[in-house]
């Protein structure tokens, strides 16, 4: 369980990125922070592994304040998938994935074989393992980043817009991959995105943020859709748009789901 207790962060230049943020993230679930750019998502995420220190308040993992833990040890115990992959350009793909294992003291050959297995888990062609990151496409690099986050089998996985820089088809693929992985691995995932559809797809708990890390609403996707807290949330999740307001129509003798503009969105399957 991860808990934010009245966390605030003001950077050295005076920017207040997060103001009095409190939240509990239950273990073995995926919590998604969603909000527009600059609302403090990355800052919140980075406070979990002490890449950012709160100005006030505490972040606790299983009731232990992370401020009391050695930051290097802490980071090694947490998987972190970075925006734009964040691979080391001077290491081959397989060695990039092996980094967390090597830092944890795992021997070279075991680290390599576990890294290759992690690459297979995220569906990366093994032929690419010996390449350098810049010889890979953006989507492939993202997969490598996910593999690196998973390789040491951490209980907690932090993911910062991991699929933001890839094209929609690859993103779809990666999202499905992550859902499958989560069913198998049962990790505590904190996922950051600015895409509400992605948030609703992946999140058990979705946290909609305003500027300054202010919580607009917390809930399951269904709770948020059924009962948006205010107009900001209503607009943010797109309830003011035709594609979210569906109804059923009888057409050509079948029951078709139609959006607010009358465009067919799908059919009603068996319950």
């Amino acid at each position: 369980m991860i808990e934010f207790r009245s966390v605030s962060k003001t950077f050295a230049d005076g920017t207040t990125a997060v103001r009095d943020f409190s939240l509990v993230l239950p273990s073995r679930t995926t919590t998604v922070f969603v909000g527009s750019s600059g609302c403090g998502k990355t800052t919140l995420l980075r406070m979990v592994n002490r890449l950012v220190e709160p100005s006030s308040g505490q972040v606790l993992i299983d009731d232990v304040d992370v401020a009391t833990r050695n930051p290097v040890e802490l980071r090694r115990s947490i998987g972190y998938v970075m925006q734009h992959a964040g691979l080391l350009p001077h290491r081959r793909v397989v060695d990039n994935v092996a980094v967390p294992l090597r830092l944890a003291g795992v021997g070279r050959s075991e680290a390599t074989s576990r890294a290759l297995a992690a690459l297979e888990t995220v569906g990366l062609d093994p032929a690419l393992a010996r390449r350098y990151p810049r010889q890979l496409s953006g989507g492939q690099q993202q997969r490598v980043g996910v593999a690196r986050g998973l390789v040491a089998d951490p209980n907690i996985l932090l993911m910062d817009e991991p699929f933001g820089a890839v094209d929609p088809i690859v993103r779809d693929d990666l999202q499905q991959e992550l859902l499958r992985l989560q069913r198998e691995l049962d990790k505590t995932i904190v996922f950051v995105t600015h895409d509400i559809d992605e948030a609703f797809l992946l999140g058990d708990q979705v946290v909609i943020l305003r500027r300054g890390g202010e919580v607009a609403q917390v809930g399951t996707p269904a709770e948020i859709l059924a009962d948006p807290a205010d107009d900001f949330v209503r607009t943010f999740v797109g309830l003011d748009k035709a594609r979210r307001t569906l109804h059923v129509e009888e057409r050509a003798g079948a029951r078709i789901v139609v959006d607010g503009d009358g465009r067919p969105a799908g059919v009603l399957g068996p319950a």
């Binding site: 964040g86 010889q135 492939q140």
Partner: protein, 215 residues
Amino acid sequence: MSWLDANLGRIGDLALTHLWLSVLPVVLGLLVAVPVGWWAQRHPRLGGVLLGSGSILYTLPSLPLLTIIPVILGTSILDPLNVVVVLSLYAVALLLRTAADAFAQLPREVVDAADATGHSTWQRALRVELPLAGPVLLAGVRVVSVSTVSLVTVGALIGVSNLGSLFTEGFQRNYTFEIVTGLVAVVLLALLLDGLWVLLGRLLLPWARTERSAA
């Protein structure tokens, strides 16, 4: 030509001496400049002062320095060590700035990734920052290497033999061919050494040459 035939062996000896008088300062300069430059870039205020004094060091003229150093070190004026010390100082002065720049220009997100994956400060410096600074350091080393090879010749003026001795002798004997031979030998040595640095770079920094492929 008979002079050349008669002196080939000696020219070879001078070239060898010249080689180590050039390589040693560059290597020593690198060994000092890299850690100090790394530190300077992490502590901008004191580091700035340090880099500034490095630049002043380089403006000191070599000949007077070569006569002062023996007094400070208590070495004989003919000791090749004096040349090594003076040229090492120059190498440090030049490479300090290069090293600080090399570390300062590292992409933020890569250094950040090193932290996020749990590198300690030392692991980050040695396994991530140093190799990534490699290409810029190498470029600096190549410049310093060439200038050091040419500066070594000044040592001949105070009696430390090297290929520069061919200049001094040639002047004394008014024998132009010997001077030209010395000049050509110095240039060839500088090129040879440069080639060796490039080769070393290819071996140590294979990733720096990979092309982005359409994947």
